[in-house]
């Protein structure tokens, strides 16, 4: 993957062609085209993550990565994070889901934390989360999918066989 370079200088009026500038422009075009993204997609043997937590927490289990998270390095651009996974409750009831950046505090007023009702807990339900992190200074960041139960459900499982993934895309 080609890495975006913030340090490209600008041409000055009347300046002769500068290979460093021309190549920087070419490099950055290529970086935009190739797109900086990172994904953790589970493709291993069947072994689910699960949680019995009633406060925000990560489903954990034997699959790797544990918990399901993704790390990406940005040169200072917005990051979009997308999660897809199939969950199953132990019974009908409510569960909550969100995406959090490492060291973020849980915000109960975040719309991402609105509850999802599992009509029939023992049946699979596909869950999607997407969140834009708009103001990210240059650096490396880890994002994690969180899920926790509220009422009715005692154990919430994230089913590995459906190849859940968490995806981070840098840039607009």
């Amino acid at each position: 993957m080609t890495t975006w370079d913030n340090s490209i200088e600008k041409y000055l009026v009347g300046e002769e062609v500068n290979p460093a500038l021309a190549n920087g422009l070419i490099n950055n075009q290529k970086a935009l085209h190739e797109v900086n993204w990172a994904i953790n997609r589970y493709t291993g043997a069947e072994a689910n993550w699960s949680t019995t937590s009633t406060v925000y927490n990560t489903p954990v289990g034997s699959p790797t990565p544990n918990p399901l998270s993704v790390t990406i390095t940005t040169t200072g651009a917005p990051i979009t994070v997308i999660f897809q996974g199939v969950f199953q409750g132990s019974a009908a009831g409510y569960a909550f889901f969100t995406l959090l950046q490492e060291d973020d505090a849980y915000d109960k007023d975040d719309p991402q934390n609105w509850p999802h009702y599992f009509n029939a807990g023992t049946r699979p339900a596909t869950m999607h989360l997407a969140k834009l992190f708009p103001n990210m200074p240059a650096g490396t960041y880890t994002f994690t999918a969180y899920a926790w139960i509220n009422s009715g459900i005692t154990t919430l499982s994230l089913l590995s066989v459906y190849r859940p993934f968490i995806l981070a895309i840098e840039g607009n």
Binding site: V17, A22, I26, Q29, V35, A120, R123, P124, T126
Partner: protein, 168 residues
């Protein structure tokens, strides 16, 4: 506009009109990169297939991937499956290779018999996402696939959704 990778510029290289125009074409490509929107249907489609099968021509597209490009694939719509507890599954086939588990796919939705005010077996929002890169620069077909464990699955892309394959 096709993406073209530039050659490296060196000292004493001459920036020609061809090179500058190519760079401009690449910017245009970045702005307008390939996007496929399916859907010309006038009614919901159904399936009783119990193994993965194509959702039909409106959910398929063929393209020659651009070198280095990443493709975001999305299926959006509404659907339902008859029979309490029957499961409708979705997957994506790229160049003849199914991306998820061959029997369970990458997304699943169960039929439910709702008590209360909702009707039995209601339509629900269905989204399925996938991302892929590193594809060979040969004619490549993307096919959205579906199946049911039993019963009849229905997908309404008509007014509520459509499949998308787009180059990022």
């Amino acid at each position: 506009m096709t993406w073209t990778q530039h050659s490296t510029q060196n000292d004493n290289s001459v920036l020609t009109a061809a090179i500058l125009n190519q760079m401009n074409d690449n910017v245009v490509h970045l702005k307008s990169a390939f996007q496929f929107y399916g859907y010309t249907e006038t009614a919901p489609i159904t399936t009783t297939a119990t193994s993965f099968t194509s959702m039909g021509a409106n959910y398929e597209t063929t393209l020659t991937p651009t070198p280095g490009a990443t493709y975001l694939c999305m299926l959006m719509g509404a659907g339902r499956v008859s029979g309490d507890g029957n499961i409708m599954r979705f997957d994506l086939e790229i160049a003849g290779s199914i991306q998820g588990d061959p029997t369970r796919g990458i997304a699943a939705f169960a039929g439910v018999s709702n008590a209360g005010t909702l009707t039995t077996n209601p339509y629900r929002m269905i989204n399925v996402w996938w991302i892929v890169n590193g594809l060979a620069q040969v004619s490549t077909t993307f096919k959205w696939m579906w199946m049911v464990s039993a019963g009849t699955g229905t997908f309404a892309g008509t007014s509520w959704g459509r499949p998308v394959i787009r180059e990022l």
